[in-house]
Each structure stands twice: as C-alpha cells, then as structure tokens.
Symmetry: C2
C-alpha cells in the first residue's frame, strides 16, 4: 500500500486556504497512484483552535469542509483530522476525531482517547475522551488510527514530581487486540528543544513493542506562540526510521508499506540538527507564521547595542527578508558610543534600514513636567523606566505610522526575574526570545556568526547592560547569567523546590531565595507581555498559570 504523509502548515479557521491545500495534496497523491493520504490532527481547521471550538458556526464549518474534501476522495483513501459532535447526551460536546474518507464519503470516524490537559494543552476543555476502540480495514490491511497523545500513554517527564502515566487507558494496547498491520498517528505536536529525540523514541518503542510499522504525520508552522516542527516519520516494524520529513517546512512523501517490513528498505541516515540550530529554525518559523497568518509583512526592532536585539534582528531578517525589517536606534545620555556604532554596523551587515532618534529631549521634558510632583526626591528606578517607556512609545509610534510590527527582544532570563520595563522594553506584538535563556541567546549569536561575522563581536563580548544609568551592568542587579540560567531552568522547567536546589550544594542559599523571590514577585509583569514563541517544555504564557496574588 502506498501511503502519502502530508505535512502541511494550517491556518487556524482559514477554511478556504486549508481545504485548498488539502485538496491539492490529495490530487497529487491520486496522480502518484497512492492508496492513502494522511493529514495531521485537526487539520481541517488547524491546531489549536482553542475556544473557537465553542462556536457552533466553527464546528459546523469543519463538518462542511470535511464533506467537501470527502467528495474528491473517490479512488484514494484519506485520513484527516477534525472535531465531531458527541452524539451522547452526556459528556463534553465534541470529540477530537480522525475521519477516514473514501469512495466520496466519510467511511469511518475514530476519536482521540488521551486528551492532553497540561502545559499549553487544554483538550479536555472541549473534548470527551474516546473509550470505544475500532480498527480501519482498507485494501486488506488493518490500520490502527490514533491521534497524537494516544501514543503518549507514558510521558517522558523532566519534572520528578510529574506523572509518567497520566491516563488510565492505553489506546495502543486496546487496538493491539485487532492485530493491526499498520499504526497511523495523526498529530499536532509542538516543538520543544531537547524533545525531538524523545518524540522519536515514543514511536520507535511502539513499533518495536507491537511489531508494527508506524506512520506519524505532524503539522508544521507557527501558530502564535506554538511552533510545530513537522518531522513526520515512517518507521518500520523493527523500529527503524525509514522516512523522515522536513523540519520547519511543509513536506510530502510517499511510502510503500512493503518497505516497512523491517527487512526491505534501509533506514534513512538523517543527521539531527543540533539543539541551537533547531531553536534558530524554530524561532524563524514562529516569526514567519505570525506574520503570514496575520497578513502582516513588516517588522520593527529597537536596537540597544545589546545581544538580544541583535539576535532578534537577524532572526527577523531571516524570517521576513531584509526589505521588511526596520531598526530604530534610540540613544540617551547613558548610552555608550559603541551602542550606536555597533547597532549601525549590525544594521549595515544585514543591509537593514535604520533611523536614529535621540531620546534626550523627551526625557528632559518628562523630568521637567514631573518636577512639581517629584520635587527633590532622589532618582530611582522611575527615571530608568521613563527612558525605557520613551523608547517603547517611539517604537509604537513608528509601528502605528508605517505598519511595522514591533518585535519584542526580551529574553527568558530577564522575563523570569522581571528585569525589564512594562510598556517599555517589554512592549511588542510578539516576543522572539522570551523563551530563550540568555546563555542560549549567546549560543544563537555564535551560530549566526559561525560562517561570517554578522553580529559585531563587540556586541557579543561586552558585558550586558540596560544603559539606563551611568555605568550600569546587568550584574549590578542580577547574578551572572550562567548561574542564573541554571537555577531558572531547574526551578521553572524541572520545577525543583528551593529546598531541593539548596540541598544540591551547588548554589548559595541566599542566591536561590533571591532568585525565586524575583520570579514570584514579577508574575504580574509577565501577565502583560506579548505572546512568546515557545521553544522549551515550559515557556512563560499560556503553558504556565500562576495566580498573581499568591503568596508563595
């Protein structure tokens, strides 16, 4: 049986575009004499549709489109994802379903059993879990149809307090009673660095355990915060990857099930990109997705002379093209000369247009009009924030006038400890580095400069500074980033308790307490940040929900 793995980038709710792309792939597959074409989870509407699933017109549009697509599946089978209405009177209104289309009709429907409801996932918000298992019989083959999490009955957990087995049902065990010849998994599995290997392991293990070939079709592309890496695969019954689709771009491949016996075709030699390269590509995909899907074209970046804005600028240029990116340099009396010259050099290296606006005048104006109220109170963080907010205001004014979307340049380390100004450097339509720790921002800069110097070396070498008062350094207020990032990772991603962190003996107790206090205290700032491109297993934003007024 010839099966096409169709790894597409869907635009949530853009039914016209999604259906058009799906139909195109089906027609191609027909021309290639394929027997079956497989699309990803909720492909008819794009994943994650979130609360659009609560709207009658959205769900009924999904149904209409599936029927429309079914009509062209005359001599080819198609598996496609979409919501269905739960016919029972009790339980959640919807199922997360896989439709089997053939002979112009919806022939069979399979529902998702394991509904991820953790981190950024909220599937039990909408869907009833399936408990009735059935097999798809097609052209003499028995096909087990599963949907994403259905194969994740055992979770690869980083956090020791988390559960490995979140569900009391194991769909593949249930389906194995039918002795399937092929296992298909349609997925919408978002990227998180260091997890692509784990994903492979999940599928390889299932192939080996059940001695069955696995076809895994993921979606690809950016969906606001979430980035889907694609990387769809065909695995033979001995657990060897025989076909692997592109990372971070749409891709379609045809696989013959005869090659999946574990004897035939040799496994692909697929060199996995290194972690930082994957992050780099993921962020570019995220930027592209945001702009394309919102029908935007131009971006704006405020260049401080620091590494975060430099890396953001490079990523934006790679995602959108140099002609669509503009940079603003906004020096103050506290800016070092090199901040401006380095930023100019960077913009020129990238051939990006820039403007320079000195913020001295508005800063003095604000000090003057505030003087009757502030009187002789000493300068403090207020004056630093005023500078940052003047820059935010200028960037937004440029954005309003010319339609360039402001990209936020804050990194995860800063966001964690609240080292940033709300409505100032925390402004923007999309945060590019908000899930990238500072130490990884350096690694991204190294990667960018590997072949030729794009980011001036001085930007990388100089000690990080907000330049909001004379001779300021980040380390005046923060621990060194290499220590800070380790603690943040263990506290945020691994969810280790302060006691556990202290008991390792690797860190000073006061330091741990100080860092954690900063994290907790600045929850309110993170509440108002732009959406953050998620590249880790625990990003700030929708996947991390902390009550602001908690005392903890």
């Amino acid at each position: 049986m010839k099966i096409v793995l169709a790894q597409l980038d869907y635009h949530i709710g853009n039914f016209l575009e999604n259906t058009t792309n799906i139909v195109l792939e089906i027609k191609n597959a027909q021309q290639n004499n394929a027997d079956l074409i497989v699309f990803s989870e909720l492909s008819v509407c794009g994943y994650p549709p979130q609360d659009l699933l609560e709207r009658r017109e959205f769900v009924s549009k999904c149904e209409t489109e599936i029927k429309r697509i079914a009509r062209i599946c005359t001599d080819i089978g198609a598996i496609i994802g979409g919501p269905t209405i739960n016919p029972d009177k009790e339980g959640k209104l919807l199922f997360n379903s896989a439709f089997f289309l053939y002979e112009g009709k919806i022939k069979q429907v399979f529902h998702k059993s394991l509904l991820p409801t953790y981190d950024i996932f909220d599937e039990y918000r909408y869907f009833e879990p399936n408990r009735n298992f059935s097999i798809l019989g097609f052209k003499g083959q028995k096909i087990a149809v599963t949907i994403c999490e259905d194969l994740w009955d055992e979770q690869p957990v980083e956090n020791e307090f988390a559960r490995r087995r979140l569900y009391t049902v194991n769909p593949m065990k249930e389906l194995s009673q039918f002795k399937p010849d092929i296992l298909i998994n349609i997925a919408a599995s978002p990227f998180s660095h260091q997890r692509t290997g784990l994903k492979k392991k999940i599928f390889i293990d299932k192939a080996r355990q059940y001695q069955v070939p696995v076809i895994y079709v993921n979606q690809v592309g950016g969906q606001t915060q979430l980035i889907f890496e694609g990387g769809s695969m065909a695995i033979d019954k001995s657990g060897r990857i025989v076909e692997q689709l592109n990372y971070f771009s749409p891709d379609t491949r045809i696989v013959d099930t005869e090659q999946l016996t574990g004897k035939g075709r040799l496994p692909v030699v697929f060199e996995e990109p290194d972690r930082i390269k994957m992050v780099h590509d993921a962020l570019i995909t995220g930027i592209k997705g945001y702009f394309q899907k919102l029908n935007l074209r131009k971006a704006l970046i405020g260049l401080s002379g620091g590494i975060d804005s430099a890396v953001t600028l490079v990523l934006a240029v790679r995602a959108l093209g140099k002609e669509n990116v503009h940079s603003l340099l906004m020096p103050s009396q506290y800016s070092s000369d090199h901040s401006v010259t380095d930023s100019i050099q960077l913009s020129e290296n990238l051939d990006v247009n820039y403007d320079i606006i000195d913020i001295q005048k508005p800063y003095n104006t604000f000090l003057k009009i505030l003087k009757p109220i502030f009187k002789d109170l000493p300068e403090d963080i207020t004056e630093e924030n005023i500078q940052s907010r003047i820059r935010g205001l200028i960037l937004m004014a440029y954005s309003n006038k010319f339609g360039n979307i402001l990209l936020n340049t804050s990194n995860k380390s800063e966001a964690a400890v609240g080292y940033g100004t709300l409505y100032g450097d925390m402004a923007g339509g999309l945060s590019i580095l908000g899930d990238v720790y500072k130490t990884d921002v350096y690694k991204l800069a190294e990667l960018i400069n590997r072949k030729k110097i794009i980011i001036p070396q001085n930007i990388i070498n100089k000690p990080p500074s907000a330049e909001l008062k004379p001779d300021q350094k980040d380390t005046d207020s923060l621990p060194e980033y290499d220590v800070l990032d380790k603690v943040l990772y263990e506290y945020i991603e691994l969810q280790k308790s302060p006691e556990e962190l202290i008991s390792t003996g690797s860190y000073d107790e006061n330091l741990i307490n100080r860092i954690i206090k900063m994290i907790i205290k600045n929850e309110y700032k993170r509440y108002q940040t732009p959406p953050i491109l998620r590249i880790s297993s625990k990003a700030f934003g929708e996947g991390r929900r902390i009550p602001l007024t908690a005392k903890w």
Copy 2:
C-alpha cells in the same frame, strides 16, 4: 447536630494566614459546642492555586497544614478542602479532596468527581476524577460530602451550543444509594452577575429531589481576576433557604440540623441585592483582594473627565479609602475645559488628592523628534496613540515613584472592539471595568449617585469621547453603546454566530459584521491587558482563549 458554616477569604499559598484563620474558626466553633465545622474547597491553600499544584513543596505543605489542623479537631469534626496525591500509578497526580478531621486525625477523605474544565476552570489539568463513592458517618448521621461542581451535573447554560450535561457521572445519584441525612457541598464558586439565582436553584433542586438538607460553603474574596461572593447557605429538605451568609465578606454561622427538617425554623427572608449592586460590591471586593493579597495599599487613577475613570475612582475609594487613592489629570489641547473641571469636582467630592500635568509639552517634543522620520505624512491614529501613551508613561512614572498601583479604567465594550491604546489607556496593574459593558458602567454611576451626587452629572451626561483629536466622539468610530453592547453580549457571552445575529432581524448585517470583525481583529490587544476583574460568565482573559493568528 450543630454545624458551623465557615465562609472565609483565603490567600493562595499563604499557609500561615490560612491555617491561623481556620484554627481560629475551629476554636470558636468548639466554644459554641458545635459538632462539625465546614470550610470551603481547597481551603487549606486557597482557590484557585493553578500551577502551584504542580510543585511538590506546595502540595506537601498542604498536607502538613491539614495534619496540623487535624490535631486541634479533638472533640469537633471539621471538613476542609485540600489536594491529595492519587495513590494509583496511573491517572492525574492529584485529587481535589475534602478531608474529614476528627479526634485529632484525618478520619476520611472524599475526592471530587466532576472537574470543571471550561471558562476559567482548569481542574482536569491537575486532578483525577473520583469514581468511588462513600458516605461520612458522624454522630449517627450519614453525610454526603461533595465538592462544588459535584452538584453541577446539570449546567445552567446560556449558550445554546453548550452542553447541559458535561459529565457522564452524577455524584449525588451515586451517593443517594447511602440514603444520606445531610448533603454538604464545599465550594469555590466565583461570582458572575445574573448567576447567583442559578446557584440557589441548583442547591434547592438537589434538596427537593433527594429530600435532604443542603449545607453549601463557598469561599469569599478576590483572587486576582476572580471574585468569590460567598453567599453560603443552609437549605432545609423541602428546599427552603434557612440560613444565608453574607455576600462579599467573611461570615460564619451555626446551624442546627433539626432546623433543616423542612418543618421547624422559618426560611430566611433574604432580599437579594439587585444585579448592579452586586456588581458594584463584587468590584470593590476584587480591588480589595488584589491590594491586600499583594500587600499593596495605594492606587492611582488617570481621570479623563469620562465616566469610566470616574466610576473606577469611586470604586477604588470605597475599596481602599480616600487617603490611599490619588488621581492624575492630564489634559491636552484636545481636552475640553469641562474634562478638567469635572475631574476636579469629582476628586473634591471624594476628597481625593489629585495633580494636574499638561501633556502638551511632551506631545510637542515627540512630534518634533519624529518629524524627520514622519516627514509630511498626514496625522492619523499614531498621534492619538502618542497622547494616550504619554499619559500611560506619566501614570507609570507616578506609580514607580510613589508606589501607587495604576488602576486601568477601560470598559468591556472598548476592550471588545479594541477602542483603546496598548501601553496607553490600556495600562495598569488591574482592570476594574474590563468585564463591565459601557451601558452597565452608566448603571453603576447611577447607583453611586443614588443618594447624593458624587460623580458630577456632566460626566454622566456628556457624549463619550477619547478627546484625542478635535471634537472627537466615540460614535465617530463605534456604534451607539446600547446597540453595541447588545451585540457584544450575544456574540461573546451567548456565543451566537453572525448568521444567528443577523437572522433575528434586530440588527443591520453590516453592523454585525463590522462589530465582529473588530472583536476578532483586536484579540492581540486583549492579550496584553492587565488582569480583568471578572463579573460575567465570559470575561476577557483566562476564561476566553482565542488563537491570535486565527483567521475567522
């Protein structure tokens, strides 16, 4: 049996304070010779703890505190809420549990069966649903212990597309096999206007259906966005409310079960406050909760001369005291004279200190420094936003210097259609009116002025205007608020489709399409707004999750 209903305000994660308050109530109950004292859902840690439940140290602290509290429950029984660890190897890590404490020990534990996972609720994110039902035997009485949603097997739905029966289990039906003498429900049921009557109906119906008295104990107080109204009740077996506790303040009452036979004591004559009075009190509770729990004292409000900031100021004064509220008036060349005089009059009526800062100078400065870039491009929304952001900057500077938290004054109608400036009038630590439609803001103003004029009549009478360009009126860009608000309510709360709205014939098709387009287009602005005090069944924020990049 004498049962104490203990309706307290918990501070999430503040175990010292929560335990102290709980212990105090137990001691009081002991002195009053009560047999049993009942606290609310997850009372040991406060509701909703959200992702703090994923932290080992948080869950283990809950356990420690429950054991500590158990020790003083020697001659009195106590029912208290807290998380427990699911002893099975499979399924979610935790249960949402009710502990029965007696004779110094944890005697019995009951788990929640129905886990709300919709709107602002995410309980299946953390908890495994209970499927084993048991009864509490205490002093010769059989007590059915349920937790909040357990009695909501049938939902009172406003949205026709939503499910009435979200669960396949009916806990009270299961528990009825034990023939309980009393039904206890410990809850954390947040306020939403027009729903307090529905809550009563739920409990009254259960009492009648199972011919059993109902004891319902809710928590009270503000938890960031969520406001808990309290309103705990004792209902006799014939469905009459025999005791009702305060709305919006901690309260404790003792009830004798002999009064719950349906014959004894007369039902309370409890005059339900009207809807707007409830909203008024809820918002004050929300402000108080935010400030108290974050250990803040002082607030700041920018007064525009419009009704939103006027109502916000009054609510802030009522929540925090006039001495803790400051107002800033920031006129520009487009401000009408009455904007300033009305705002001064309002501040004086409330005896609130104010400052006046003219924004003309910084506005001119920005125009000047942007001139080389903007050249001769015509004025547009950019210049309006600059004014709004200058005000935001000044307010934040005052906030930084003096520690006053900026209250956001945007209303729900504006937030819905994006009639506001990010980082300008959309700034603040907490949004007071972000879930109140403009037409209800007027009703709040009427209520405030009922006994004596506090808000100058001119503020109420004049047509709403942002005053960001000459002779601007809200109706230049928006439909009349009475029409707009109806459409918004039907689209947002009732989730009606555009087609349904048009088919009623009540609205013009173009108007509907224009409004809905504005709602969808401005999702990105709402993503970055401060937490909004929730008073409706569908507020912007955590309870409404829409993908930003959707095309819909």
